[in-house]
Amino acid sequence: MTKFSENCLPDLRLVQALDGELPAAEAWRVQLHVETCESCRARLDGLRSVSSGVTELHQVALPPEVTGRFAARLAEEGSEQHLEPGWRGWLARPLPLAARLAWCGGLTILILGGLILWTTHPRPGAAVRPVARRQQPAMAAAPKEFVNDIPAARLRRPRHSAKRSVRQQHVASQTPAVAREIATPFFTLPFSDAALPLDEATMIRVELPRSALELAGLPVDEDRRNQRVRADLILGVDGLARAIRFVE
């Protein structure tokens, strides 16, 4: 049994030296110490012996088929690109040039078609607000009677439930209750087109401030000035309001 002096190196230093993990100068100092210190030399030999024993445990033979199978899998992997499963793999899948061109062409047609439809199709909901803004100066300019006798069949039925076609209005006007609802005839608006295609016209009901009656030359009670009043708007195919009438 060798004595462990206070000059002896700790196991950590010996293991690091054994594994070549010390800087050269430090390793050299350890070597010098080990040559002169019997205790450290014995401990180093013990650590080295155990280390060799652990290494010996790792002598497990690799099955030969692993190498052959890996070569085949690597060749297969290299010949066709590895694709991830799912939509990422589908997107990463290589396509022939013709297929790519067809995809690009189809996509372009789709985008252009959507753009054309978007710009040409009337959007009733979007037209209500501009009409409401523009009708005030229009009515102030020159209100005149207009489409009280529009053939109901020529007006298109609106999509929204709040919109009512002239046919509906005509039928409704046959009943006394609805007839009482109508307060004024229709007044044309200045940007109204005489060649309005009435087949495509729609009528919607909106709410306006009662002061709008004043712009049409109608009397307004000062106490009720801030109240709302309902009105029917006839919209052209372009979404612009062509005529207006007020209802109770």
Binding site: D11, L12, V15, Q16, A17, L18, D19, G20, E21, A24, A25, A27, W28, V30, Q31, V34, L44, G46, L47, R48, S49, V50, S51, S52, G53, V54, T55, E56, L57, H58, Q59, V60, A61, L62, P63, E65, V66, T67, R69, F70, A71, R73, L74, E77, G78, H82
Partner: protein
């Protein structure tokens, strides 16, 4: 065992596998991912396989995981992944795959001594060797998991900094784990 160059001021002996680090080719030398993968597979397939077995994977599973590691390396290189310290990269992948496999299979790790190859030769020597191996295995299994992993990676020639990257711990922790593991084994085996 091989002696370290005297020019380095060292005369201690180090496990040969440790010195193999320098023989791992710099990935910058080979531009083709397939060639580089094949080259690394040639050099590292046995250490990786042995490490997987030492973690407790069955031989067949360890063989499959070894292949998976290097196929992942190929994809990694092909996608212009970081090509520094590829050996550490492979071992880290192997370690993670092994952990996943052990969790997934839910079975107890296989004792690597059960798969030891019979060296032949003198029956008495073989018996003594087997007994020594059994004692060593028992002592290693008694170590904390982290110390076992450090010990096995070190036995496969990885440097401390590589072990640290594989296990995601500090280099000083690796050194401490290795030292404690060897000291514990030395006490056990020499009692």
């Amino acid at each position: 065992m091989r002696r370290v160059s005297a020019a380095d001021g060292l005369s201690l002996e180090a496990p040969e596998s440790v010195l193999e680090l320098d023989s791992v080719k710099d990935p910058g030398e080979a531009a083709d991912p397939k060639q580089l993968t094949a080259s690394l597979f040639e050099q590292q397939r046995k250490p990786v396989y042995r490490y997987l077995v030492s973690l407790g994977l069955r031989p067949q599973v360890a063989g499959e995981v070894t292949q998976d590691c290097f196929l992942r390396l190929y994809r990694h290189l092909r996608s212009n992944g970081n090509s520094e310290n590829l050996r550490g990269w492979v071992f880290r992948v192997a370690h993670n795959l092994a952990m996943n496999e052990l969790k997934r299979s839910g079975v107890a790790p296989v004792d690597p001594s059960e798969m030891e190859v019979d060296p032949g030769g003198d029956p008495e020597q073989a018996l003594l060797r087997k007994e020594r191996t059994r004692r060593m295995q028992t002592a290693i299994r008694a170590l904390p998991r982290r110390q076992q992993e450090c010990l096995h990676l070190r036995a496969e020639g990885l440097r401390y900094r590589e072990i640290a990257r594989v296990l995601g711990i500090g280099i000083s922790s690796v050194a401490e784990s290795v030292q404690r593991a060897l000291a514990a084994l030395a006490r056990t085996c020499h009692d």
